[in-house]
Subunit: 365 residues, 2 copies
């Protein structure tokens, strides 16, 4: 179908965002390939904001972090939850906004920092909850792609994503820049220099390897209606975000689960028409993937692995380098999943830039 | 198919658990119909344990609650999270066990109470995390169906479910008794007498109305492979638990989401072959269901509503009474979903008592 344009973008981080119209998925593809350049910009130009937010955090000496997010940003927040607990030994949990906005009972742990993560910075329930947190005496921080947004302005410190306008409805570059902003912030809180790894080169390499591999996989999987995406630890966020991308662009009903939760029932849905998409790169999380993979094999389900070769799957080659720190793997391992969602959508005759029934800013209360 | 046995159980709370073998779903059906009697037993015989756990809680003056659970119990824990935040204005969050067991970094908020919820009381990751919490100085509590289990013995106070042996792999009576134990505990912590509402009669009425209605709905939905289950607030737990039941017994790929999260992408999967199952009883959560229902209508998806008539669906009549306190609705609204999962499984030629690839106690680390 419309795959001809993809090579033109491969390895190039300077693709201008095209106008709407044209080939289905044109915006999403361009934004997927823009990611390495966005990361480089954020690592350099966002560094001061991350350090300032970390300084505010250290001065306030919060006892824990409450993350506040929806949609793709909620998946980034899950990554942040693991990062802060594992990296900083700091308790971190996700907020339940409806407790505030639907039931009218704002409750925040004493001494908590409330950190909102949002592409638009405009979702009404998050704005309202962040304001309640600030009024309750919590330190409030935010990470958004719009420094003029209510969440950016309403927080005591803000880290901008610097990702440029995101025009595809499916978030790609803002998701990975949220991951990176959370990583930079956490490093700075930990007193480490938010150093500048060469993530852009790694990202370009992964995109280049994944480009044709994911198109071939999409051809192999064309027509599937269901999929189970599984990861563990840091990769749990990747499984959830892959599921969201697949649902919103190619309408494949996908559940994104941790390996442990998958074993408590959901693995029963696996069958020859319901593949397992496993995230497995080096790191302690991957060991617990083995029994989910065994369940998939026993059910005759295709096993597709996005990883560094630690775990063998049916189709994809090792797409990730083996020497990536586990905490940074989520930035890279989501790239093939984004491409898979895009290719499946396009092969299915859908335009992932304009998913049915969705708009870019979702306003919920 | 094998629906003949169901009327024999209707309205009777004294059905003895049959031996394995025989009709598919015999154990699950018996345990579904046992629930009103189990609730009555727990309300009476479990009251002292709930009061003792609440006394230990009040003495320790915890600043917040961390809930620790997996599978169906994790869905009960989500209910507990809403209950404690809305009812007690007490911050409550779900633990991420892999942070402890996979990454080896136990982190608990200062002054937290850690409450484990588990049918078996034996899951290795929960046992290990609860022990770490106790060693870190947290008050530890547990709710299990086995007073001799490691989680029961390892916690400073324990509330037994008193549900009797659960022999179906799919948890039904232990799920609702976990909800009820959490409600009794929360009431007692709030200083209210854990009074004894006539839940059993309500439960029997719901089961009686739902029995044939859910069988008819299952016939209507036979062959479906995907479903989106949505609730808000307290009913978010019901949506997740309905999804788990449908996945593990009838292998229907079901996502259980809050209405707000559903709008951030997943509603795109709705189509004429992918129904929406909406939980909607009176209470502030239901208002935000309207836009999800509108999205389903626009996509041509069947809309099936488990509720009290507040929101109209395509097939099911109003199955719930309108005067149930919102915090108790989850006990009742899951009953039709359990029956639907059972009937869909049996109509599909599966035995929900022995789902493929699952065993009763799942041990994960």
């Amino acid at each position: 179908m419309t795959q001809a344009g993809s090579n033109a973008f491969s390895g190039s981080a300077q693709v201008p965002a095209p106008d709407g119209g044209g080939q289905p998925g044109r915006l999403m593809r361009a934004e997927i390939y823009e990611q390495p350049a966005v990361w480089t910009r954020l690592l350099h130009e966002g560094r001061d904001a991350a350090v300032r937010a970390a300084a505010a955090f250290r001065a306030a000496e919060p006892t824990q972090v409450v993350l506040l997010a929806r949609g793709s940003s909620d998946n980034a927040a899950i990554y942040g939850q693991y990062l802060m607990q594992i990296g900083l030994h700091l308790p971190a949990a996700l907020a339940t906004p409806s407790v505030h906005t639907v039931y009218g009972t704002p409750v925040f742990p004493p001494g908590a920092c409330v950190l909102a993560v949002s592409q638009s910075g405009a979702s009404a329930d998050l704005v309202q909850t962040l304001a309640a947190a600030r009024q309750a005496g919590c330190l409030t921080l935010s990470i958004t792609n719009d420094p003029a947004s209510p969440l950016a302005v309403g927080a005591e410190a803000h880290i901008p994503l610097l990702a440029g306008p995101e025009r595809s409805v499916a978030a790609t570059k803002t998701y990975t820049s949220e991951l990176l902003a959370l990583w930079m912030f956490t490093r700075a809180v930990g007193g480490e220099q938010p150093d500048v790894p060469d993530l852009a080169t790694l990202g370009e390499q992964v995109l280049e390897s994944a480009d044709s591999a994911c198109r071939l996989l999409a051809e192999r999987l064309t027509g599937i209606r269901r999929l189970l995406a599984v990861g563990r630890g840091y990769a749990y966020a990747s499984a959830r975000e892959a599921a969201l991308k697949l649902m919103e662009t190619s309408y494949v009903m996908t559940q994104g689960l941790s390996a442990a939760d998958a074993e408590h029932g959901p693995v029963a849905v696996l069958d020859p028409q319901t593949p397992l998409l496993a995230f497995a790169s080096q790191g302690p999380g991957t060991a617990s993937m083995a029994s989910v993979v065994a369940a998939a094999r026993a059910a005759g389900a295709p096993v597709e692995v996005i990883g560094d070769g630690t775990l063998a799957g049916d189709s994809l080659p090792a797409l990730l380098p083996t020497d990536v720190p586990p905490a940074l793997a989520p930035l890279l391992e989501i790239l093939p999943a984004q491409l898979l969602a895009l290719e499946l959508a396009v092969l299915g005759g859908n335009d992932p830039d304009r998913p049915r029934g969705l708009s870019k800013v979702t306003s919920t209360m």
